[in-house]
Symmetry: C2
Subunit: 396 residues, 2 copies
């Protein structure tokens, strides 16, 4: 009899966003007349940049002609795509070799796949609150998890613990809190990882939202990170690729543990379990980092950051404490009056017809907080914040 992966039985019964979607669907069914505005799931709403659309159409045309048709590409990504990402890193001062960059179908896929590089018996440090997939991926492997408390006191940016963790997940700008590590904050982590022989998995999916030049876009801006860190990034938030699907993972060639080289291991894994990202999608990705494409992408980011500004103003007007927003598409606010986060979720859905994400879904330290995203339509965002402000003001 086949043995199935019993770790599936240890997962929490509902994936957070599925539960949110279920409650919203039930509400809409019961109230078909209400205009519900979603500020819940972190999904973009602005269309792809014209340069990206053009690149995909040109690539599709190439695929329809025998002379320019492309079959299997390199597992690691085409040079043109790797070099486009390399140039992006160079734009904020990071020197990364093209063969340290792997193009993939999205950061979530690579976050799921990266655990293949690690053996059993690792202690995995994961911040709490956190993007739920980090935890679930490690639960599926049966890994032991050490939660790192993020809270008001540390600004939701936990520092290294006393105990030596083997694998560390960091996300900055953070999902769900919008908090961003300073260079000094990351340097503490890099030193800790190098001292303990740990590996940091750094999720940089929101780096393009950073406006403050003092804040690092990449962990590779920190000396020594090339000996302890893997960075996972995505075009999803940089350029609206949530439905287009493309990401990249950077594994420095200097990253070795116990005589094994992680760049070589990931290369080998790709040969076994992957066949490269669609040529059309890689052309789209490369177009994001063209001068024209990036200028168009930055307009969308400015649009979302303006939403975040509107959201912050509305919360301040009713004296609601929050973090995030300035260098991030997320605002993480404190539930007023001691109300719990799923209760506030239900209340905002019912009274304001706005969908937020309850903080409890991101871990125990998320209780008492909720996440709002700035990815909506500008007018919807203003409307939603007026409604939310009224409800929160009455509670506070």
């Amino acid at each position: 009899m086949v043995k199935l992966n019993n770790n599936f039985n240890n997962l929490v019964s509902n994936y957070l966003f599925a539960e949110v979607a279920n409650r919203v669907a039930a509400y809409k069914k019961a109230h078909p007349d209400k205009k519900v505005i979603s500020m819940g799931i972190g999904d973009v709403t602005q269309p792809l940049a014209p340069a990206v659309v053009q690149a995909m159409k040109a690539a599709a045309d190439e695929m329809g002609v025998k002379e320019t048709f492309r079959g299997y590409g390199p597992y690691e990504g085409y040079d043109f795509a790797r070099e486009a990402v390399q140039a992006h890193y160079a734009s904020f001062g990071c020197r990364i070799a093209a063969d340290e960059i792997f193009i993939g179908d999205g950061a979530k896929n690579d976050l799921g796949a990266i655990v293949d590089l690690f053996g059993p018996g690792n202690l995995v440090a994961i911040p709490d609150p956190v993007y739920p997939a980090y935890v679930d991926v490690n639960m599926l492997c049966g890994n032991e998890i050490l939660y790192l408390d993020g809270n008001r006191e540390n600004g939701f940016l936990p520092a290294p613990p006393d105990r030596a963790a083997d694998i560390i997940y960091l996300c900055s700008p953070n999902n769900p809190t919008g908090a961003v590590y300073s260079r000094e904050g990351l340097k503490e982590w890099v030193d800790y990882a190098n001292a303990n022989g740990s590996v940091i998995l750094f999720d940089a999916a929101y780096e393009s939202f950073i406006q403050d030049p003092a804040l690092p876009h990449s962990i590779f801006e920190i000396d020594g990170a090339e000996r302890c860190a893997i960075e996972l990034c995505s075009f999803s938030k940089t350029a609206g690729f949530t439905g287009t699907r493309c990401g990249y993972t950077v594994i420095p060639k200097a990253l070795e543990r116990g005589g094994m080289n992680l760049n070589a291991m990931w290369t080998r894994r790709a040969a076994i379990k992957y066949n490269g990202t669609s040529y059309i999608i890689q052309r789209a990705a490369a177009a994001v980092f063209s001068p024209e494409g990036f200028s168009q992408a930055k307009q969308n980011i400015a649009y979302y950051l303006n939403n975040a500004r509107v959201m912050g103003e509305a919360l301040r007007a009713v004296n609601i404490e929050y973090v995030g927003g300035g260098n991030s598409p997320y605002i993480w606010f404190r539930c007023p009056g001691g109300i719990d986060s799923w209760k506030l979720f239900d209340l905002l859905l019912d009274k304001a017809n706005v969908v937020c994400t309850p903080g409890a879904g991101f871990g125990k330290n998320g209780e008492g907080w909720c996440r709002l995203t700035a990815f909506g339509d500008a007018q919807d965002t203003r409307t939603a914040m007026q409604r939310i402000g009224q409800v929160l003001g009455e509670l506070g």
Copy 2:
């Protein structure tokens, strides 16, 4: 100190196709004047069908307009794509529910991912010769492998062994041999799996090449398969998607083991480690199974099968024994005169300037055989077979 996955050290040092590519590159560098024809890696050469190109361009345009832009899609695939695959199954008499079909980024990805459903301690039966990734994926997990001998005697179609295996890989039409299981042959496997509580992973990537109406396109044509089998398929060979990347995996809702439902587990896994296939690519995939797209795809398949016919004739003319070809893009031929397969590879590269794939790369039973693919240009295929025929004729 982090523990890495030591199973990487148990992999054979070079992935077969990488080794072939290295030898070909070295030969071309030494002989820049020679026109080398590749019949090695199973990659298509005909362009995408016009209907597919049009679908991608239309989808790209949709993504560039706010009103029709699509963000995150369903993890399991859009209904339009799942229903297109469902209709394809119906075309050869298989009734599959749309929610038993999962759209993915390619069969190789899903073959790599499917092991997440299984726990440690399974005995995994894998035919030999075989597509190398099946073995490598299981080596990475540290699974025990039971090789099933494919040979001249059983026509490279092994029957169930005496021992009870927990997981069974089958590929029909087979890569590398081109052999195709009959309904009776598959029925034996289905009965064995149901008797032993095993799960069959059925790779149907080449089903579109089947011309003989007596041969099954899918394991789900066999009664009882819905209680023991998962089928993995791809648009790569059906419609030239090797560089476009899309596949589908069918997990029947009736497939349960030890109280766990594999369809539900795969759905959950997708929520944790996947974010769906690119919208543009799913539109391309659905277009493959439109009447116009499928008619265009079938023209390419006919083109490749005509190559296979030419190849078979050339081998018969010099009395070389082979299998495959009629219902498959692969021809698997016996090395003449007791020569080993890497030696014949080198000889054909040097004397005929043709790249084949040495059978030894597919397992111990592949020794003494070589694989040729019918995916080349028709004129190149004729030229290559004339040259090969001459070399083989002199050896035989």
